[in-house]
Symmetry: C2
Subunit: 255 residues, 2 copies
DNA sequence: ACTTCTGTTTCTTCTGGCGAAACGCGGAGG
DNA sequence: CCTCCGCGTTTCGCCAGAAGAAACAGAAGT
């Protein structure tokens, strides 16, 4: 079965929907059509159709569009990540309570990670990702931890062809990124050392399912001042331990 | 501006998506195409397209489809009902705490209500709607409370042309339903007396926005044994009071 | 073996998706 | 005042591809 069955108008309209959904704010027609690189007329029609179905809401006062009620509702009802979240939550809480830093659960989606759940530090200064939000695989500990444990011939599926550094610490070449992934695999955890956001350190480890495949990842994030080089080894070991505990609850059997 | 801009394939694919979303379980191709009343080939293509974009996930083992990660993620990020929920929540909690029964917040969406938020009773036997879930306007106190305060020429937008009773207590004719709506408007609250679910009573009142338009509704639900005819007047008065408090926080000015 | 049901593929018709261009409006600047 | 620009909305005609009937392939049951 190949991809011969893509209905082009549907595919393109869904890109419009994704654009609005990921932007997380109201957008104007011009901005949307620029973002999705489609002619204005086409984008306009898709938006009208999306509005007719309740997936998008148009504010006639401002002429801005935003995600609509029906999409919100379906999103609340969707069971997609439910089992994983429930399974991971107890161990995530333990990890959070041990370090009083934020713990994230995420999975791979193309070249991004998507945050499935998070258990936040109780401190004022804490990491706060968005449930359902995304970050690039290559600049996050979560992303690197998951990809590193995939077969190498599957890495290109999750890595960009060109790197857009998010900070001064981000990787700028694919070669250095692949080295980092190999290091990640050897030591068992991925490290985001200010690559996704300046001043933030993050340690991530992969979660395996019952077939031994990478199912998700769990990470501990903190301000760099609190996760310095002395604190890192213990944090890394605990993240690995947490990921393993969750994996076993998913049916994974370590060899 | 009329509805001359509907892109048919997009519209139809979104009906497939709505079908899957509202069903809340995995479905097979045959069942979906029966539900949306489309030819198998067409439905199959739409599903492939929806899968390609991550809105639907196909399980190759079972050949079943379900709502996919990307739709879940957008649903979590969507801000659609956020302001209403935040505004209503404190008053809803007070109402719940006063009666120790479940309080629901919902809005109109076509002929249904959609549950935006809920604050649940702490008792074992309690009402439990689904966040993002739907019920028909005509059989719910929430629905009736909201529609009753719309101009009557807008009632047909929200009422079915033919009634499908959900219980023995449900309305069976449009005439009796319209009488109920007029009564609702006179007394200020809608009553679901076992019409949506047997043995459940529910009182609902409309929430108005700053322009005096119906924005939402709030309701108190309980097992009928606990909300008998002696308890009903006080509950109704409190629900009306809560709705008014929320309305004022939304900028509504009572006359 | 045959039947039934499922999902997948093929082929041809003609609908309507598509986008360039035009239109209308409001705001900013000279 | 006028002109320009940028926005969203509308028009028009071509041909790409959406559409669906029919066939195919496989699995399960009798």
């Amino acid at each position: 079965m190949t991809n011969d069955y893509i209905v082009k108008p549907v595919y393109k309209a869904l890109q419009v929907l994704l654009c609005l959904g990921e932007e997380r704010r109201e957008m104007a027609l011009s901005e949307i059509c620029y973002r999705v690189a489609m002619p204005k007329t086409t984008t306009f029609r898709y938006l009208q159709t999306l509005c007719a179905c309740g997936f998008v809401t148009h504010d006639p006062g401002t002429d801005l569009y935003r995600i609509g009620l029906r999409l919100w509702a379906i999103g609340q009802l969707a069971r997609e990540p439910l089992h994983l979240r429930e399974t991971a939550l107890p161990a995530m809480r333990e990890l959070r309570d041990r370090f009083n830093e934020t713990v994230n659960l995420g999975i791979l989606d193309g070249r991004d990670i998507v945050y499935l759940d998070m258990v936040e530090s109780r401190r004022s200064l804490r990491m706060q990702a968005q449930l359902g939000g995304r970050d690039p695989v290559y600049s996050t500990a979560l992303g690197k931890a998951m990809v590193a444990f995939l077969p190498e011939d599957r890495w290109p599926e999750h890595l960009p062809t060109r790197l857009t550094p998010r900070t001064d610490a981000s990787h700028t070449t694919l070669a250095s990124l692949r080295d980092d992934l190999r290091r990640t695999r050897e030591r068992g955890y991925g490290l985001d050392d200010g690559e996704n956001e300046e001043g933030v350190r993050c340690v991530g480890a992969p979660i395996f399912d019952q077939d031994g495949h990478v199912a998700a990842g769990v990470s501990l994030s903190a301000p760099a001042a609190r996760m310095n080089d002395r604190a890192l080894p213990e944090a890394a070991a605990s993240v690995i331990q947490t990921a393993l505990a969750i994996s076993c609850r998913l049916g994974y059997r370590p060899r």
